[in-house]
């Protein structure tokens, strides 16, 4: 059975076609943004001032000044913000906030993904299912 399948594959598709398929698979690596695997497991907290906000699909992004360091903070999609009643103008430049989440596993990279935002002492929990 296995052998006949092997013969079938060899005769009908050919080695070079398989190489092409393999090439496709190899190119499908790289990871960031989506999910949490690119970030560390450790809970991380950042406090600072919003310098720039680009909100909306595919995902929102804030530039946050924290003690002179300019961080990139990935926030949620519109539906995730809507769910916790977080309006776009609450994240406009000048806003002071604390962000709980996870930072990039790449050493020295000033990038984090937010789980929960704290603005004026109020919690906006974007990921209620996750510990933050």
């Amino acid at each position: 059975m296995t052998r006949s399948v092997a013969v079938l594959i060899r005769t009908h598709i050919g080695t070079r076609a398989w190489l092409a398929i393999l090439l496709c698979c190899l190119t499908a690596s790289a990871a960031a943004h989506h999910g949490w695997r690119w970030a560390t497991d450790e809970e991380f907290e950042l406090s600072g001032t919003v310098k720039e906000a680009r909100l909306g699909n595919p995902h929102g992004e804030l530039k946050v000044d924290a003690d002179g360091d300019l961080w990139t903070v990935e926030v949620g999609q519109p539906w995730r913000h809507e769910r916790v009643d977080l309006k776009d103008d609450m994240l406009k430049p000048g806003t002071e906030l604390t962000i709980h989440g996870h930072r990039s596993a790449e050493a020295g990279e000033l990038l984090m993904k937010a789980e929960r935002l704290v603005i004026d002492g109020k919690d906006y929990n974007l990921y209620p299912d996750r510990k933050s």
Binding site: I13, G14, C24, T27, A30, H33, N57, P58, Q77, P78
Partner: protein, 147 residues
């Protein structure tokens, strides 16, 4: 205001940027388009290279696959422009995105040149090039979200 900024601020782009389901749906449509376009192009390329379907005439394979490839092409253009409009200014600045557009242009030129010759070896070279170019286009497209 530049045309890119205008596009980004336009009504449809803002609706897409704020939508819950429309954006992922358009995204899925882009993938369906890629599957149709690149899937059929790859099948035709592999036939031209003689890697598969040698008992079927190339002209027959072409007749079957071309309409599907064109549907795929229409779908990737419409969905691609829509996705682009949401963040037009930043995509336009992205090196990866620019490389992707360049590769698409070269792939298009390659496909057009295919029509200008009937030489078998040239056809095979172009088919091999086409395979590599479309794989690279997909890779660059995927990288946009990660760079």
């Amino acid at each position: 205001m530049s045309i890119l900024a205008w596009l980004e601020a336009s009504g449809p782009a803002r609706i897409l940027a704020q939508s819950e389901w429309l954006y992922p749906l358009v995204n899925a449509g882009h993938i369906v388009g890629i599957a149709l376009l690149v899937g059929t192009v790859a099948a035709l390329d592999m036939r031209i290279l003689g890697w598969l379907g040698r008992s079927i005439a190339i002209a027959d394979v072409e007749r079957l696959l071309r309409p599907l490839a064109l549907i795929g092409l229409g779908l990737v253009i419409v969905t691609g422009l829509s996705l682009f409009s949401v963040q037009a200014t930043s995509y336009a600045e992205s090196t990866v995105f620019r490389i992707k557009l360049l590769l698409i242009a070269v792939a298009g030129l390659n496909a057009a040149l295919y029509q200008t010759t009937t030489h078998r070896l040239w056809h095979q070279i172009m088919a091999a090039l086409s395979l590599l170019l479309w794989l690279a286009v997909i890779t660059m497209g995927r990288l946009i979200g990660f760079r």
